[in-house]
Symmetry: C2
DNA sequence: ATATTGTGCATACACAACATACACAGTTAT
DNA sequence: ATAACTGTGTATGTTGTGTATGCACAATAT
């Protein structure tokens, strides 16, 4: 498992976990059927509580990204490359709409946004 | 006062307030010395508690955007157009770094981002 | 059986939001 | 002058929500 959580971040730990695993799945880094580490092991590795990991896994389950089987484990769900691409774009666009509405509130044109973004990307 | 708060939003009310007033100041819509409405009046108008408005105003004060004078009111701080522009850019860039790191986590190039953003801006 | 896995429950803590009462500054009446 | 009134921000105490935790329970595999 390759995730990095920050205790100083304003974002809840479970959400950081969710976002990172989610991104990895939608990037295709974790293939279908891949078994996520047991929540206890993940908790130990990340030095957080079992509950926190479980909450992140629950979010993944709710988003349809993994399937959870009691006593067995959590597995990356099966879907076609097309489905995956669409899911990825939906996820990104959802966030992007929030981001752009923020930029708009400052009166920025899309050209302004591109200009600024080029500098830091 | 021209702000719109959403009770359904996941963001705290005081933060929505802060962000909107902050943006208006940095856009130059609220000129220096302008008097913000009294917190009671603002609270009544927005149908929230006095405390909630106060918390937002406190954030503005802490950011150096307004000056609070007990018994008198809260006034937009004085600064030059150059200072204002710089402050605005700093504020936007700070948020933009968070946004771009999210896009990067999905493996998007800056061209990918521009492509998607054009569609929704 | 025993070990491994996920699940449910009760709790501690932090924070957002609220109603109410308080303290300070300016203005007016005496 | 100074007391009283009005308008302003401030402080206190309470309630509800959400994050994170530990420990005990249920289901599965060998």
């Amino acid at each position: 498992m390759n995730v990095a959580i920050s205790s100083t971040s304003e974002k809840p730990i479970y959400q950081q976990l969710f976002e990172q695993i989610s991104a990895q799945i939608l990037k295709g880094e974790l293939e279908s059927g891949y078994s996520l580490p047991p929540i206890r092991q993940a908790a130990l590795e990340l030095r957080v509580s079992v509950i926190t990991v479980k909450k992140a896994w629950e979010e993944l389950e709710r988003s349809g990204l993994i399937n959870t089987v009691t006593g067995k484990g959590c597995f990356v769900a099966e879907f076609s490359p097309e489905e995956m691409l669409q899911l990825r774009n939906e996820t990104i666009l959802k966030q992007m709409e929030i981001d752009t509405s923020y930029y708009k509130s400052f009166g920025l044109t899309i050209e302004d946004v591109f200009e600024l973004m080029k500098k830091i990307y």
